[in-house]
């Protein structure tokens, strides 16, 4: 499997980190290499390495500049050799209900206008996607899902919008996620979900694992109100 043996590009990030890059796309095979590098570097116990942050196509390797430097860490990472694609195990499948429209989808009309689809076609496209949890990022419990169908992929807005509430179902390019806390975002909000990706009071605040799959299902406004009410009472 020659195509899976890829020499990654390594770039410095300031004076305390480097980015190991396996590509520039949201792609399950590229992501599998990121996860392989994540476990290999973690197991290697490279001196001075403080933190590893996997993302779609790159792995950030943080180091303490008092203990080591870019050249030393980059050499240690290269010495681990090319990363093989890890055997992808099938993760757990989670059903995530979404209420579209009814004042809960501030950007649905704009997404429809920009993609040349009707709002109903945007919703159906979103529901048809097969989503993979690629990484956590941005804010606590923000699970980045890849797999948005091509016909509704749009670049981010040019400026972030502040104070988007928890439970917002958003898309940007091939990515989708459900917000867990109120945060600014440049993504397109097409619905609202009562499903909680972050459960801060529980032993494991992050119930979904990287590699799990998500299927969005449609719920009515009544079902949403009932579920959101129950969530609030918990």
């Amino acid at each position: 499997m020659n195509q899976s043996l890829i020499e990654p590009a390594i770039q410095p990030v300031g004076d305390s980190g480097l980015m190991v890059r396996f590509g520039a796309a949201v792609d399950p095979d590229i992501h599998a290499q990121v996860l392989e590098a994540d476990s290999a570097i973690s197991a290697a116990g490279i001196e001075g390495v403080t933190e590893l942050i996997p993302s779609f196509a790159a792995l950030f390797v943080g180091y303490d500049p008092l203990q080591t430097d870019f050249e030393t860490v980059a050499a240690a990472v290269r010495a681990l050799g090319p990363m093989k694609s890890k055997e992808r195990t099938s993760g757990q499948i989670w059903q995530v209900p979404v209420c579209y429209g009814d004042g809960l989808s501030p950007d649905l009309a704009e997404v429809a206008a920009r993609t040349g689809l009707s709002e109903e076609e945007v919703i159906n496209a979103h529901l048809s996607g097969d989503y993979l949890l690629y990484m956590y990022g941005f804010a606590p419990g923000y699970a980045y899902l890849g797999g948005v169908p091509k016909e509704i992929q749009l670049p981010r807005k040019t400026a972030p919008v502040r104070d988007i509430p928890a439970g917002a179902v958003m898309i940007a390019g091939p990515q989708a996620l459900v917000t867990t806390i109120k945060m600014p975002t440049g993504w397109w909000i097409i619905g609202q979900s009562p499903f909680q990706f972050l459960r801060p009071g529980e032993d494991n605040p992050f119930p979904l694992a990287v590699g799990d799959r998500v299927q969005f299902t449609r719920m009515s406004r009544d079902e949403y109100e009932r579920a959101a009410g129950q969530g609030a009472k918990r």
Partner: protein, 335 residues
């Protein structure tokens, strides 16, 4: 023994911070912790506290507290605030003892945006993932302190021997010059844009909080519309959203993002930058990663030397004289 305080007034973004929760960025949780880690470290040393030490991060808005119960030795370090205890001015960086009934007033002084109020004792506050650091944006570990809030310090001690006035070192002041390592997405920008970043001054805007600081200056136009998959962001990253203004990410920064990063502020300059105020001018200077590592080590050495000098600065002038006599061995029998 515990000491209790009531907050009479607090500016925005005043919060409890410890060293932060390291290692959770892979779950989207930033480290948080002090905006100015150097000043926080000085305070911890001045009060002889351990690794888990938590303090109150006071913003440029200032803070007024009344001690309602107990006595405790406290310290304030960071920026150049105006600090007074029952109307009696204290040095801006100092250690003093607060008694029941006393009022401590911290007002913005001539310079600086963040200062740290700590105690010989433990501040009781929320805890999440092993840290007391407030993450303001999420509210997952407490909220900003506001008027009417009470603060309880358990295991409160009076350590009269820690009393001191500390000089404000140059390394803790905003210098106007901030060094950056270009990249990792500097190639998204035209060479003229990269040139403008380091040749023209930028200005700190009001859009400045614990997540980041927006600068205004020559617009950093992105050469082509970007649809890059999100990747890890670090403290100090200079991110450029579509509006073209650079945003320097700070203590509560988002852990990943998809906008290009034109540069990263070097470790040695991250803390002093946080002490800048709106409308201050910032000149960005480009260095290589290996120069930045050397600068981080040199800064660490300077701070360590300062921390080691604190013990010598304690007490009154007479106390210090007596100590120096002790060292040179010409002191009387009473010791």
């Amino acid at each position: 023994m515990s000491a209790k305080f009531t907050v009479s007034f607090a500016g925005p973004l005043v919060s409890v911070q410890d060293d932060g929760r390291a290692g959770f960025m892979r779950f989207g949780v930033p480290r948080s912790g002090p905006m100015d880690r150097t000043s926080f470290a000085v305070l911890r040393r001045a009060l002889e506290q351990n690794e888990g030490f938590a303090a109150i991060e006071v913003s440029i808005g200032g803070m007024v507290l009344k001690c309602t119960e107990g006595n405790v030795t406290a310290g304030f370090v960071g920026g150049n605030f105006s600090v007074s205890l029952d109307g009696q001015p204290q040095s801006p960086w100092s250690v003093f003892t607060i008694r029941a009934g006393s009022t401590l007033t911290i007002r913005p002084g001539l310079e600086g945006s963040w200062g740290y109020l700590g105690f010989c004792g433990k501040i009781n506050s929320s805890d999440w993932l092993g840290s007391q650091a407030t993450h303001l944006a999420s509210g997952l570990c407490g909220h900003p302190l506001a008027a009417g809030a009470t603060i309880e310090v358990s295991e409160a001690k009076v350590e009269a021997g820690f009393t001191c006035s500390l000089p404000i070192p140059d390394f803790a002041r905003f210098s106007g010059n901030v060094r950056i390592v270009p990249g990792p997405q500097d190639d998204c920008f035209a060479p003229e844009t990269l040139g403008a970043l380091v040749s023209e001054p930028y200005e700190v805007t009001q859009d400045y909080d614990r997540m980041g600081m927006r600068l205004k200056g020559p617009s950093l136009t992105i050469a082509e519309e970007l649809s890059m998959p999100s990747e890890a962001l670090v403290r100090g990253a200079v991110q450029v959203p579509g509006h073209g203004d650079p945003i320097v990410l700070l203590a509560d920064h988002q852990t990943t993002g998809g906008y290009p990063k034109i540069a990263t502020v070097i470790t040695a300059d991250q803390d002093q930058l946080t002490q800048a105020r709106a409308r201050d001018k910032v000149r960005l200077v480009s260095v290589t990663p290996s120069e930045a590592v050397k600068l981080a080590r040199a800064q660490h050495a300077k701070v360590t030397t300062y921390l080691e000098s604190i013990a010598e600065l304690r007490g009154t002038f007479e106390d210090r004289l007596r100590r120096s006599n002790l060292i040179s061995g010409v002191v009387g029998d009473e010791f």
